[in-house]
Amino acid sequence: MIAATPPNDPAIRIVGLSKRFGDRIVLDDVSFDVAAGEVVAILGASGAGKTTLFRCLTRLASSDDGQIFLGEHAMQSLGGRELSLARSEIGLIFQQFNLIRRLSALDNVLAGRLGDVSTWRVMIRRFPHRDRQLALAALDRVGMLSYALQRADSLSGGQQQRVAIARALAQRSRFVLADEPVASLDPESAKSVLSILRDIARERMIAVLVSLHQVEFATQFADRVIGLRAGRMISDRPAAQFGEIDHRMIFAG
């Protein structure tokens, strides 16, 4: 195994990551970096190992081999408070949005502040002025300010996903992991969500890792595209250089 050092930039570094379920290999020697401000797309068919990779990154799943660094956090060696501190710097975007349905868009964005706000304040649901300002600014950034008081379950899929991005912003994430964020959205909403992800990466120097299964989205919105097939990285190139051959290697039966 290559000896890996934490990168200087606050960015994601994965070195030789492997994961097995029984004797099935789900991730096989996966290595790549994501720089601050960069958007990297993981492209692969269902079952290629994308979700497992994301679960390993947040330590929701354990890995069998390899190393994961998120900024200065060596993820595998963390536990307890250190782990939850590291996690609080990761903004997660899910396919199913995972908003709290009966709460307003604003309350959902405030959920990004839960880690920092004292427990008694959460009990009475009174967030400090500073945190409310942060949440409103985040909603404004994703163009959802006028929906602040609408219940999450009354919003469209694209709107919900934008609220989820605002939650990640309010959390002041240094890393955003988005697992199939546009898989349940129509093409128009998908484009708006992905362009917001790309823009916030640039503006706030956030390292964004996004898994997708549509090639055109990957090449349009990401800086780099990584092809994953049966747990193996089979390509890693700048989005502009991604070609027909890569496409076939990733998806062909």
């Binding site: 947040t58 929701l60 939850s84 501190l85 996690r87 609080s88 990761i90 997660l92 899910f94 199913q96 995972n98 908003l99 709290i100 349905r101 009966r102 709460l103 309350d107 959920a111 990004g112 839960l114 880690g115 920092d116 427990t119 959460v122 009990m123 649901r125 939650r167 959390q171």
Partner: protein, 270 residues
Amino acid sequence: MIEDKAAIVYPDPARSWIAVAPVRFVVTLSLLILVYGFSLYFVDFDVGRLWGGLPRLAHWAAKAWPPDLRELDILGERAMETVAMAIIGTTIGIVIAVPCCILAAQNITPSALLYTPVRWFLNILRGIDSFVFALLFVAAVGLGPFAGVLGVGLHSAGSIAKLWSEAIEAVEPGPLEAAALTGANWLKVIRYALLPDVLPNLTSIVLYVWEFNVRASTVLGLVGAGGIGQELKNSVDLLDFSRLFTIILIILAMVTLIDQFSAWLRRRLV
């Protein structure tokens, strides 16, 4: 038209012998006959005796008219007592159910070790009727509504906690996980991500149990545990049928009113 000239002959998919329709019919029928045969034997079912008793019932019904309205104020007070018993009893149930339902909901329990014992405890509470609990409490704390309240409270605690924990277990795990991963501790996740989603459901369950408890409380007087049941028993003991008739009317009005009110409230919650 479906062409099947060159069709392959598909063998019928093999079924187990029990799945063959006539076999299943005979087996089901014999089981039903067995169950009903035994049950009728045990309950001494006798149409002749019912027939013989009918004139007596008719005689009483005739004597019940007109209803005796002289003690309406006392009976009204007893009806209020019954509703109050249901309210306080349900509240005791809630207080016990809050910690229990958290321990008994698999997705949020802070202690896998306590999960099973708490489930058992709740099953015991639920398995023993308010009436039986009230009987014990009358012996322990004496006659009156207080014994009834304790009985209703213990039984409801089991029902509420079980229904609550099931409602909590049915919650989508995604939003809880998302909140936990922002760095929120367990208490924050419960309060902020879980409670808003389940609160309408939990309230609806409380109303449902309360409604049930009003009906259950009407008979607690039979064991001396207060409420309008006490008057019911007195009237039956004295064969005072016109008073009994009034009591039954009051119970019907009270139960109907409360069922409607509670159903209306529950509709508004969801």
